[in-house]
Every structure is written in structure tokens, then in C-alpha cells.
């Protein structure tokens, strides 16, 4: 590895790299120092800022770094931010935070790789190596790369836009050709995965208590943001606002009510509501929670079924059934005026959210 890679000024831009955690480890700074020592109060407040930026802007911004000392502060703020997020115990915040970190790093990487110098390719190779992605620049090319389709699929199977579908790609002899900028988007997915990994950390209660000043103000921010956008919470990549039961179509609300009241619900309806909730961004755990009231609840079986519908690795495997299918299985409970305009429960949800958002905005 070249020297510049190991410099804190570089590492602090990509604090999730293994070289970054090695750097922190070797620096001899202990967890105790990070939490308590006055020396690191800037790292701590920057750590809080990272999480706040994630909540407010959906992106952790790159800082102007001049000195090594600044870089070190920036670098240390990352593990601290992870501790903060972990203490708050909010699954959606964790996701939001990881996406925001990855987005920020993605933009930095875009810049870092378009300087016009040989460093452009170096940093691409550095990142690919870090994430175990095999990539080559096409001969004589600085903007075109190719990678094995297996690596390509690993990081794009969760991207929804059609352009990422393998079928719309150039695939020849097992290699997918991409523009460099597209490849960097794939790196963003890899970064997200890395950042999300191990989160939430298992932080001892006394540490969480010691930093409750930070977590409390984050929670406040979180609440305010959620209030501003209604119950909905955040916007995720799926384009749906997570979980706003007020906007669910009547069929789904009906099934959910039955589950809540412990009424036994037919399999087709369970499937529909599970797929629907996964589609709108609920986690598997949240859904299993919903089934707990069911008269025949069996934790293992439910988990297995929910995971099956979710697909492995947490990506959503099934889309909720359309209105036509819901009717076929007798799961449609009748229309309201929004139903008239849609043919799919998810479209209902989207439309209703849009209406609601407009109302909020123009209030």
C-alpha cells in the first residue's frame, strides 16, 4: 500500500476502512479516553454532529481538513458516532446513519477519483481491494472498468433502478462493463454494508449512561425530524416513507387489526401483509412483533416465513400482491376513494403519503 493511503488526512475521509481502524488501534487511544478524556471532546462533538447530519440531511458531510490533528479528531469521531447510534437503539436510525455515512464517502470518492492524475485509478484500486471487489480498468481507459458479474450482483441486487439490472448491462465472458462513476456507486453499496455491519454495537450500559448528554440531544433531533415529516420517519432508498399506518390501504389495515386482536388470519393475507410491510420498509423483527398476538404464534416458524418472504440478506424478495390478487383471495375489504385510483396496495400507500406530505407542506 502506498504511503498516502495510511495518512490520517486520507483515512479520516473513509473512517470505515480497515486501515483507519488499525490507525486508531495503534494510536493507543482507549475507549475510556474517547468517552471521558477532555482531549477528545472535539472528536465527541463531531461524532454527535455526524449522527445529526445523518438525521437532518441524510448525508455526513466531508470536513475541510488541513492538519493531522484535525484529521485525527475527524477519524475518532467515527467510532464515537457508532457508539452513539448503538446506545439509542433505534433500528431505523442505524440504517439511516449507515446510508448517510456511505453517501458522504461516496461523494468524497467521486471527487478523489476525478483529479485527472494517476491517483484516480489508485484510489479505485484501493477501495476495490478493501471490499474484495475484483475490478480492472479496460485497456487504455480511465473511465471504463469491468468486474466479475458475481461481484457486480453482490452489491447491486438491492438497487432498484432498472439500469442496475444485469439484463440492461454489458455482460461478456463473465465480466460486466461499467463507467467509473457507476463503479463508485457500487463501492457506495459496499461501504454501506461495511458501515452497517456490527451495528448496533453491544455497548455496556455504563458507557451509554456516560454519554447520555449526547444521545439525549440526538433523540430530540430525531423526534423533531419525525414530527416534521409526520409519523412517517425517514425517506429511504425504497422511496417509501417508512411505516405510516395512517396511509395504509384498507385491506392491509384490516389484516393488521385482525392480527392485533388475535383473530386467525388466512395464509394468503399473512403473506400479503408481510410482503407489504417489508416493501414499505419495516424490518423483519418489527413484523415478527406484529404476529406475536396471533393465536398460533410460533416464533421460529414465523421468523422462517418472514425471512423467506424477505429473501436472504434482508433484501425484499416478494412484492405485495396487487389489488386483483387481493380480490381473488378475498382479502380486499372494499374501496375508498383512493382505491379507485390505484391497482396496487403499494400505489395506494404512495399516493396517500404524497397527499399527506403536500398537506403538511402547505399548512
Amino acid at each position: 500500500m502506498t504511503d498516502w493511503c495510511a495518512e490520517p488526512v486520507h483515512l479520516c475521509l473513509y473512517p470505515f476502512l480497515s486501515a483507519a481502524s488499525e490507525y486508531v488501534e495503534e494510536s493507543g487511544i482507549t475507549l475510556d479516553d474517547l468517552i471521558h478524556s477532555g482531549t477528545y471532546r472535539y472528536a465527541r462533538s463531531r461524532g454527535k454532529e455526524r449522527v445529526i447530519e445523518a438525521i437532518k440531511d441524510g448525508k455526513v458531510r466531508k470536513q475541510a481538513i488541513i492538519s493531522n490533528a484535525q484529521a485525527e479528531t475527524e477519524l475518532l469521531s467515527y467510532p464515537f458516532a457508532r457508539i452513539l447510534v448503538s446506545c439509542i437503539e433505534d433500528e431505523r436510525l442505524v440504517r439511516r446513519y449507515a446510508i448517510s455515512e456511505a453517501k458522504g464517502a461516496y461523494e468524497t470518492l467521486l471527487e478523489d477519483s476525478s483529479t485527472g492524475s494517476s491517483l484516480d485509478t489508485d484510489i479505485i484500486y484501493e477501495m476495490s481491494e478493501e471490499f474484495g471487489i475484483r475490478v480492472d480498468f479496460l485497456p487504455g481507459e480511465r473511465e471504463q472498468v469491468q468486474m466479475p458479474f458475481v461481484d457486480y450482483l453482490r452489491f447491486t441486487a438491492n438497487l432498484r433502478d432498472k439500469r442496475w439490472k444485469l439484463v440492461n448491462r454489458e455482460l461478456e465472458k463473465g465480466k460486466v462493463k461499467l463507467r467509473k462513476s457507476e463503479f463508485i456507486r457500487i463501492i457506495q453499496e459496499a461501504m454501506y454494508e461495511r458501515i452497517k455491519k456490527d451495528l448496533p454495537l453491544d455497548v455496556p450500559a455504563d458507557i451509554c449512561k456516560a454519554i447520555s448528554g449526547y444521545t439525549e440531544s440526538i433523540k430530540k433531533e430525531l423526534e423533531e425530524t419525525r414530527k416534521k415529516f409526520g409519523d412517517a420517519g425517514f425517506d429511504f432508498e425504497s422511496g417509501y416513507r417508512v411505516k405510516d399506518p395512517g396511509c395504509f390501504p384498507p385491506c392491509m389495515s384490516h389484516i393488521l387489526n385482525n392480527l392485533k386482536e388475535g383473530v386467525n388470519v388466512p395464509h394468503s393475507a399473512r403473506f400479503a401483509v408481510t410482503a407489504f410491510l417489508l416493501n414499505v420498509g419495516l424490518t423483519e423483527d418489527e413484523i415478527i412483533e406484529i404476529y406475536k398476538n396471533s393465536p398460533d404464534f410460533d416464533a421460529d416458524r414465523t421468523r422462517y416465513q418472514v425471512e423467506h418472504i424477505a429473501g436472504d440478506k434482508g433484501g425484499v424478495r416478494y412484492t405485495a400482491p396487487s389489488c386483483a390478487t387481493m380480490r381473488t383471495y378475498g382479502n380486499c375489504v372494499g374501496n375508498d376513494e383512493v382505491c379507485e385510483k390505484v391497482s396496487h396496495p403499494l400505489s395506494y400507500y404512495k399516493l396517500k403519503l404524497k397527499k399527506k406530505r403536500k398537506k403538511v407542506e402547505y399548512k
Binding site: 466479475p148 441486487a157 440492461n168 461478456e172 429473501g311
Partner: protein
């Protein structure tokens, strides 16, 4: 199938398993196994005995010899604990598998119009297509692809490289989508731009359609070939070809032919240029897409815990071998010859219904309630089909 027939078929299967060299899949001890036996439920109810595992290949072979199963399967997946319940198996990875079966290749309505022999030919063609996709686009080596006749109406492909082992369901579904052209975005694979023509010149007009990606190129080539053909054949034949396309009637067809036959168009087509002036181009492309795409059964590939037939085992509904075929030899493979494992000694049967089959190049026909003496391999085929009982 009455008890006597069942006993007979089972004894023949047992004979086979005693003499056959069974191909053991790699990491067989980490796989889940499942079997359907010639038990009291067979064949009305297929009771699958699954979640089995065998520590050694010898144990497996002994099981096959002792039980002579009607159907034998193993998991595409390898597990830490292959005999545990589904949730506790500890998935470690899975072979990439494909299943091409007649009932996915053509619609159910059409299925009954084909004879078994014709179905096999049709599915073989689809399988050939799949092999080409896997070699050319996905870059697998011929040695990496295990091609197997399913013993019934199709073919299975197993790919067991380390590379594919870790692919999740979603990733596998993407592969199927690639093969079936699902989600293919015409606007993405055909963009307006300058193209390099067949004679090496660059078409300067920026309104020309330029193919992007492998599907784009494949479809582009097919479209060029299609128009070349249209411009060369007799008008009536061209009309007939065009009218196969949904949304194109007689009038439209003739208009397309007129344009395709124009000197300027002919010239451009020859140079490999598709002019956007050609009407109904989109419909034509959709039609050609359906011709080029392949039709593997999606759930089989994307289910990472699927059971698949053990190659070299027997298929209890046909008595044919689940026969591995080398890709180089596939062209000449004839399942009704090469997957036949039983001999010619005569067996007396009583036919339950009218049936016919061509095996080993010989045609056999029986009529309902007819008593006939047939070569063992034909008799067993009819019995497994439920078309005959032993006399």
C-alpha cells in the same frame, strides 16, 4: 400402479442401483438428501423423506441399494448440519442450478399438442440456448457446467464453482431475469447515437439507433437479420412472418416490407444500420426478444435451499436415468436412447390406456387393456407412466 407392478418396478430399480456407478456430488456429506420410496403411498401420494444426510458416499450408495427409491434428490445447498430442521441447517452456500422443463418452455394450452418426443426436442433447443448464455455471457467454462437430462421432460444444469456458491436468492434471480429478459429496458439498450457499421465506417447520423450491452447487441443483430430476411424473401412469406407479430396486421406488414425493400434501406441493413424510420420497430423487437430469451424455471434457480434430482439416479415416473451429458456430446444426445438403462428381455404387460413411445429407435404402441410382450425398458417405461401393469 398395483402392488405387483410396484414390487416388480422396485426390484428392477434395485437391480439398477446394485450395478450402477452413482455419481456422488461434491461435499455430499454436507448436503440434505430426500427420497420418494416405492412405499404404500406411491404413486398416488409422493411422500418425500427429506432432511437426511450421509456421512460417507458409501452410506449413500448403501441406502440407494437397500431402498431402491423411486426418486432421489440432494440439496443444491451445502449445510453445516444437513439433517437439522430447515431453520437450523446452517446454510453455507449453494450450487447454481437451472431447470428447463417442457411446461415452462411452452404454455399449458400448447403442451397437450406435442408428443413426448417433440417436447424433448423443444426443451433440448432451449437448453442449448441456456448453455450458450452461460458460456458466452456469464463466462463459465464448459467444464464448470454439469448438464443432466432430468429423466422426464427437461434438463438440469449444475454449476458448482466456488464463485457462485455464495450468491443469494436475489442475485440468482437477477441471473434468471437476465436469461428471460425480464426487466429489459429497450430505451436503455437502444439509444440514439453514432454507430460503427459492419464495414467499419461510422454512421455519422446521431439519430441512428445504437445497441448498448449484450442484450442490446444480441437483439440488434437479430433485428438486422430479420429485416435482411424480410427484404429478400417473397412478399407472401414476408407477410406471413410479420403477421406472427402481435399488433401487426396485413396492411402494416406490407408497409414494412415496402420500406425494407427500398434500395436505401436494403443498403443500410446490409451495412448493419437500423434506421429509426422503420415502422413498428418496437413491436418487432419485442417479438424477437421473445425468440431469443431463455425460459428456465425461476424458483428453482433462486431457491437456495432447493432439492434437485441426483444425477445417475432413476426417475420413478419414466424409469429413465437422470443422465449426465457432456456439453460437447449434447448435440447428439437422445434421451430416449441414451438415458435408457434397462434391457430388452421380454416382459408381459397389460395396458391401462392407449400409449405409444419411441425408444432406442423403435416405436411401440399399446391399446387400452391389450396384453403385450414388450422389451423390459419399454415395459418399465409404460409402468412408471401409469400406462400399464405387469401381467
Amino acid at each position: 400402479m398395483n402392488e405387483k407392478t410396484k414390487r416388480f418396478v422396485r426390484s428392477k430399480f434395485e437391480e439398477y442401483y446394485r450395478r450402477a456407478k452413482i455419481e456422488i456430488p461434491r461435499e455430499s456429506w454436507m448436503r440434505e438428501w430426500g427420497f420418494v420410496l416405492f412405499d404404500q403411498y406411491f404413486p398416488e401420494k409422493m411422500v418425500m423423506r427429506r432432511h437426511k444426510s450421509f456421512a460417507t458416499s458409501k452410506d449413500l450408495v448403501n441406502y440407494l441399494r437397500e431402498n431402491a427409491p423411486a426418486h432421489a434428490y440432494h440439496s443444491a445447498a451445502i449445510y453445516k448440519y444437513p439433517s437439522a430442521t430447515m431453520a437450523n441447517k446452517g446454510w453455507l452456500g449453494a450450487d447454481l442450478i437451472f431447470d428447463l422443463d417442457a411446461d415452462h418452455v411452452i404454455s399449458e394450452a400448447e403442451l397437450s399438442k406435442y408428443s413426448y418426443e417433440d417436447l424433448l426436442i423443444l426443451v433440448k433447443k432451449e437448453t442449448m440456448k441456456l448453455v450458450h448464455f452461460l458460456l458466452d455471457d456469464f463466462g463459465f467454462r464448459a467444464d464448470d457446467i454439469e448438464l443432466v437430462f432430468s429423466g422426464s421432460r427437461g434438463y438440469h444444469l449444475h454449476i458448482k464453482t466456488e464463485e457462485v456458491r455464495g450468491l443469494g436468492s436475489r442475485e440468482r434471480r437477477e441471473i434468471v431475469d437476465y436469461l428471460t429478459a425480464a426487466g429489459l429496458d429497450m430505451d436503455r439498450i437502444f439509444v440514439k447515437g453514432k454507430i460503427r457499421t459492419l464495414d467499419g465506417c461510422v454512421g455519422k447520423e446521431s439519430t441512428l439507433l445504437k445497441p448498448i450491452g449484450s442484450w442490446g447487441k444480441r437483439l440488434y443483430r437479430e433485428t438486422i437479420d430479420f429485416f435482411q430476411k424480410i427484404s429478400e424473401v417473397e412478399e407472401d412469406e414476408a407477410v406471413e412472418e410479420l403477421r406472427k407479430i402481435k399488433g401487426i396486421g396485413d396492411k402494416r406488414a406490407r408497409e414494412i416490407i415496402r420500406i425494407a425493400k427500398e434500395e436505401k434501406q436494403k443498403e443500410e441493413i446490409k451495412r448493419g444500420i437500423l434506421s429509426p424510420d422503420i415502422p413498428m420497430l418496437e413491436k418487432i423487437r419485442d417479438h424477437l426478444k421473445a425468440k431469443i430469451k431463455d425460459t428456465p424455471d425461476e424458483p428453482v434457480t433462486s431457491d437456495i435451499k432447493r432439492l434437485i434430482r441426483l444425477p445417475t439416479s432413476l426417475h420413478g415416473k419414466s424409469s429413465l436415468e437422470v443422465k449426465p451429458v457432456r456439453i460437447e456430446a449434447f448435440k447428439d444426445f437422445d434421451p430416449l436412447e441414451d438415458a435408457v438403462v434397462f434391457g430388452d428381455s421380454p416382459v408381459e404387460i397389460s395396458a391401462a390406456r392407449n400409449s405409444s413411445i419411441e425408444m432406442k429407435g423403435e416405436r411401440y404402441e399399446v391399446e387400452a387393456s391389450e396384453i403385450a410382450s414388450l422389451p423390459e425398458h419399454v415395459a418399465l417405461y409404460f409402468m412408471c407412466k401409469g400406462a400399464a401393469e405387469i401381467k
